[in-house]
Symmetry: none
Subunit: 211 residues, 4 copies
């Protein structure tokens, strides 16, 4: 009996509702920004009462974290897979950039929401998303896939890359990638894949040891 029970203790309907709410949350964040994202607004997006959201998520904070986790998880999986398919450091860097922006192109809303949250969300204790990632939040295993430093260190050690400060380069690459989300929100016609190609070339030239 109870054929509607999934292994993780959630019914099928429960999971569907949660997914619907997460989607609506991403939509509202992407459209209005995090500051104007209220539970009431999210509820209205689906056409239900506020209470529904608090029935499925303990509070606003855990809703937001669930969204973050959800997008991270899927993104990290895609990016990690693409990166590990490559064997040279420069190949991995190219794959990293491409896969990131491919994910952005394929999941515009999620990517946008995540970038918005990255700059505007704070935990009740005042921590930013990146400060969260470093410590308290249990993050998907594959999240290591989002870290550029190992790639840079490998290329520097092997001599494939010129000498540079990996932390600084990491910031430049990540911030450029994250900009795509903003561009997309401003201009729905923004060509993410063309942008990806430009970034690949740009950071290839910027990191490679000159011959």
């Amino acid at each position: 009996m109870r054929s509607d029970t999934e292994p993780d203790g959630q019914t099928f309907l429960e999971a569907a509702r949660r997914a619907q709410i997460l989607r609506a949350t991403a939509e509202v964040i992407a459209e209005l920004g995090y500051a104007k994202t209220s539970l009431a607004r999210i509820a209205r997006q689906i056409g239900v009462s506020k209470g529904v959201i608090l029935y499925h998520f303990t509070d606003k904070d855990s809703l937001i974290r669930a969204l973050i986790w959800d997008v991270y998880e899927r993104g990290a999986a895609a990016i990690g897979a693409a990166v590990s398919r490559e064997h040279s450091a420069s190949g991995k860097l190219r794959a990293y950039i491409s896969a990131n922006l491919e994910f952005t192109a394929a999941h515009r809303l999620d990517a946008l929401a995540l970038v918005e949250l990255g700059s505007s969300y704070r935990t009740p204790e005042g921590l930013r998303l990146d400060q969260l990632a470093e410590q308290a939040m249990p993050l998907p295993h594959g999240l290591a896939a989002l870290d550029l430093l190992p790639i840079f260190q490998e290329g520097l050690r092997s001599g494939e890359f010129r000498e540079f400060e990996p932390a600084a380069m990491g910031i430049a690459v990540r911030s450029a990638i994250d900009s795509a989300g903003n561009c997309l929100s401003r201009d729905p016609g923004f060509d993410v894949r063309a942008f990806a190609a430009e970034l690949v070339t740009t950071f290839d030239l910027a990191t490679r040891r000159p011959t």
Copy 2:
């Protein structure tokens, strides 16, 4: 009477108060983030009542815009001056990056506040800061100085730069520069000038026509 009236219709004291309020606003935004920046908090920062702020600025929005304008103006002046001192496109790009980050290093509070506003502030109509810049807001004349496109176009035309999409490169450069503010807010010991040097090299290699 009113011998304390300046040409623009503001008394000296009036101007001093406004400056004090703008400074306090930047301080609070830099410390708490825009979301937690309330008029009450700004007033407390100076030790006056909330009313004072609304006496000098029509509403919260115009206070924020005044701050943006103020920082932009000073930043654009510094950057414009540095850029125009150079004559090659690559020289101008280097100067642009250096001057930007020099400004960030020299005016940490302002830079931090501006970056925070760049990601979190929205006009009552829902526009972001950069969407503002493009249209509605009357911006300081020198703001053109913040635009990278002329530099890229010049370098592309002259053959100094390799072929690339100026808009994409502009995004990469600006986002990398703006990241410095975030880094600074997370880690007060962040070495902005070292970061500047890395970026200069990075984007020099990324833009130059290979020999």
Copy 3:
């Protein structure tokens, strides 16, 4: 069919569930106080869903009243029995106090819950528990056993007691007895029986005609 139907129309299981819910309700009230006693919390105490409670009781108010009735009934039976075993007024008074506190000692949870309800519960119309007892609520027959006035009147008539106002004395005795519940909730080590002995002496001296 329905061979499990009892004379009063309730199945055995039904009665067991009701008893379980009443017990859980008393536990929660005793632990958290009435203000923080929610149906959800009671349901959690048993490990069932909220709906179960509202299936067995029409609404929260009738659940609470059922608990009150239940405890009253058992308490009144015990006290009435003890009182009627005595034949002098002063003997009855001593028995009343002792039996009350004996019940408190033997059913700490119930007594605690009842005291808490006595001060915090109000009907939807705003009536307190004691205002209820006087009028609206159909109370167990034996409840008369809780009334001190007949005892005082008997002692006054027979000359066993000194002259005093029975209503005032009743208030003093009842409030002292009810305090035991509070003491118990604040200090689980509170010695109810020692307290009972003190009260017996106290009110014996306070009521007896001096010789």
Copy 4:
């Protein structure tokens, strides 16, 4: 200038508003009980908006504490004065009871509210009023006046009182006194002073060493 400034930094009007709010709070608590006492209800009692209350008091908890303090302070002053006018332990006990009930009679609303708060109020951390009094809350100096134990100890030491457990007797006396508030709320015609006379006799007989 600023002739409306009082020594403690509150203007006359501010103090008047605070007093008005405290009074309204006591009224609502006395009428509806603490559980149904909301800021909205208090505001309506005065005919102002909810915000007014939160302008004058940081939050609901500090409003309630201010009320408690205020009533305590006045009550303790009156009781302490009456008690210290007596020199025998039994005289002090009589004065304690009389002064308490005299205060109740003279400030029905306050007394009622305080009794209600005594049983229903909990701090955000879950502490009851009496647990508060023992530790965290800075209470008026004269509060010691509310403690019966010194009186009992004195009478026991001097031999004026019979042997009894001071803690238990204290509970009996205090609970009897506090009952007056409840009686008053149920029956506005309740004769507090007659009740006081009964209690004085009752506890005189209960404590005195028999001759």
